[in-house]
């Protein structure tokens, strides 16, 4: 039982990170109906920018750890957002209105380009960061198997919940969220009633990139090791999470992320760590076979 609880905590942490990336996928899919395969690379760039920011601030974090965290978070969100914006502007906007496959191939191309760009500019070696936040607390004092949660895990879960709440308010309460939902339903009609579609799509990419940057920073802090290739698997997993929750649905993306994280952690804990990705994808296949629109997705009406 204690072991199970521990895996639950680990899975929840992992799932929070996947969920943050998955929101970027699901938003972009909802609004322009394409799979943004380069989103995993945006996450990787966010991780690299936060690593560099931490290195510049120095091992002490410039005096106060909390302040350093805030500064790094802001810097990496801002600079990664520029990457998200430029990605949409360069690779996707010229292809809007062309066949779906064209945009998809452009996305895969951008994904490979960004991977190689970081590999060339930052080197192919694995980058390690000394732990910034250490320590934790023991939840259950069991001599056989104490259940512990580290402060880093607490921070990840709390930040994710706060961001989700803020994001939910943004989507449901603000003019931007309204424009976004309008574009999701019908882009032409939204443009006719005065919604600036290009601006809304750009902002969607910027928001997705910001959430990916947060996830990247948390991975940098949590694992302490990143390289230029982390975006690929994280991207596939997060996309799996988005599909699992029903693509286009933001609560679904978060839920899918947590589910994927839990499946991975429990599978690694009880069966084998090598096949944890296989487990995650198998669950995805099973869910899709029995519920082809994901857990919270709306059934797609095929227009003939």
């Amino acid at each position: 039982m204690d072991y199970f609880l521990q895996q639950l905590i680990n899975g929840l942490t992992l799932g929070a990170i996947y969920g943050l990336i998955a929101i970027g996928y699901t938003m972009v899919y909802g609004i322009i109906g394409m799979i943004n395969f380069a989103h995993g690379e945006i996450f990787m760039i966010g991780a690299f920018i936060s690593l560099i920011a931490f290195l510049i601030l120095g091992p002490s974090g410039g005096g106060s750890v909390v302040l350093a965290l805030m500064v790094v978070l802001l810097v990496s969100m801002l600079l990664t957002a520029v990457y998200g914006w430029a990605l949409e502007r360069v690779a996707y906007r010229p292809l809007r209105g062309s066949p779906r496959l064209a945009a998809l191939i452009s996305a895969i191309g951008m994904s490979i380009f960004l991977q190689n760009y970081v590999q060339l500019s930052q080197g192919a070696r694995v980058k390690a960061l000394q732990p910034v936040i250490t320590g934790g607390m023991t939840l259950i004092e069991d001599p056989k198997f104490p259940v512990a949660i580290s402060y880093m895990q607490v921070i990840i879960i709390v930040v994710t919940i706060v961001l989700m709440a803020g994001f939910w308010l943004l989507i449901t309460r603000t003019a931007l969220g309204r424009a976004q939902r309008a574009c999701e339903q019908d882009r032409t009609m939204a443009a006719l009633v005065g919604v600036d579609v290009d601006r809304t799509v750009s902002l969607t990419f910027v928001l997705g990139a910001m959430l990916a940057a947060v996830a990247g920073m948390m991975v940098t802090l949590y694992y302490g090791v990143i390289d230029f290739y982390i975006g690929f698997l994280a991207g596939i997993k997060a996309f799996t999470a988005a599909v699992l929750g029903g693509i286009g649905s933001i609560p679904g993306a978060m839920m899918g992320g947590v589910l994927i994280g839990l499946i991975e952690a429990l599978w690694s804990g009880y069966f084998s760590i090598e096949y944890k990705d296989v487990a995650a994808f198998s669950i995805l296949v099973l869910v899709l076979i029995f519920r082809p629109t994901g857990l919270l997705g709306q059934p797609e009406v095929e227009k003939v």
Binding site: L101, I236, V243, V278, F281, L284, V285, L288
Partner: protein, 300 residues
């Protein structure tokens, strides 16, 4: 008269200001993009990671981008000369001035080339009027008529390639790879092009074919010509097994599930060490023979 020239020069100035603003914005975005990953470098050292800077490279790149965008904006505004001259200067600088970094040389060369082409095209259009675009369509039609002949010529070339004097090992290996990719492209065209199913895990079948040939040939001591249909049949069987559950899905769900399957096959092949030798791969696969002739790379 004077008022007309004044208005024209006002127009010019407004166009220049607009072009300058556009170029400034582009340069600012480029600077923001390059600041963390080009300007700063987390270099791995034996003692750990240190931050190095590459400000000169980054500044030169931003300046190149500013100039290029300015010339492009002016070209769009109707004055092709800045693009032509700027492009030529960029190419000359790339060739003559020792720029720090190969990427910068590439940027200057490619950017300069694009500028020159754009400038030359717009100059040609100015001279010949709007009809300059028409010959392109004509050219495409001619090309389509000669396409079968071109294909036949290329097949002849492919057959004759190993006998050419310039055909060395590297070239022949490359040509073999090209033909293998052509075959992959055919297969993908059946699934994606003709059936319209976006299959992102297509390479899984490539892996199944390769591994089934290698394992059957090694474990059952069979020759290439028996293994060839067996490998094909096994890959087809795998496709059938995969198709039953997956083809209930459509569109992007199909895409992600096939992507997941492709990844699963890779992970299983890497981790199932007893069966596939894992990341070491399988070596010592017998070479194919043709009626007793050994098709090895060099003469026996």
């Amino acid at each position: 008269m004077t008022s007309a020239t004044a208005a024209a020069s006002d127009d010019d100035r407004a166009g220049l200001v607009r072009a300058l603003r556009e170029a400034g914005l582009t340069a600012a975005v480029a600077a923001a993009l390059m600041l963390p990953l080009i300007g700063l470098h987390a270099a791995s050292q034996s003692t750990g990671i240190v931050i190095r800077t590459r400000w000169p490279e980054m500044l030169i790149a931003v300046a190149l981008i500013f100039g290029g965008r300015l010339a492009l904006a002016l070209e769009r505004g109707g004055s092709p000369w800045p693009a032509l001259i700027g492009g030529a200067v960029a190419i000359a600088a790339a060739l003559l001035v020792p720029l720090p970094g190969e990427a910068l040389v590439g940027l200057a060369l490619i950017g300069g080339g694009v500028l020159c082409v754009r400038g030359a095209f717009s100059l040609a259009r100015d001279w010949r009027g709007e009809a300059a675009a028409a010959p392109a369509a004509h050219l495409a039609k001619d090309f389509a008529r000669y396409l079968p002949w071109l294909g036949a010529a290329m097949i002849v070339f492919a057959v004759a390639l190993p006998l050419m004097p310039f055909a060395d090992r590297r070239l022949l290996d490359l040509a073999t790879l090209v033909v293998a990719y052509v075959m992959l492209g055919w297969g993908l065209n059946i699934v994606v092009g003709l059936a319209g199913l976006l299959d992102l895990g297509f390479v899984a079948f490539y892996a199944v074919g390769a591994y089934s040939f290698a394992l059957v040939a090694l474990n059952f001591d069979m020759g290439f010509w028996i293994c060839l249909p067996i490998a094909g049949a096994l890959a087809a069987l795998f496709g059938l097994v995969l198709g039953f559950p997956v083809l209930r899905l459509r569109g992007d769900y199909l895409a992600i599930v096939t992507l997941g399957f492709g990844e699963m096959v890779r992970i299983v092949l890497i981790n199932w060490v007893d069966f596939t030798h894992g990341p070491d791969g399988i070596s010592g696969i017998p070479k194919p023979t043709l009626f007793g002739l050994h098709l090895t790379r060099r003469a026996p």
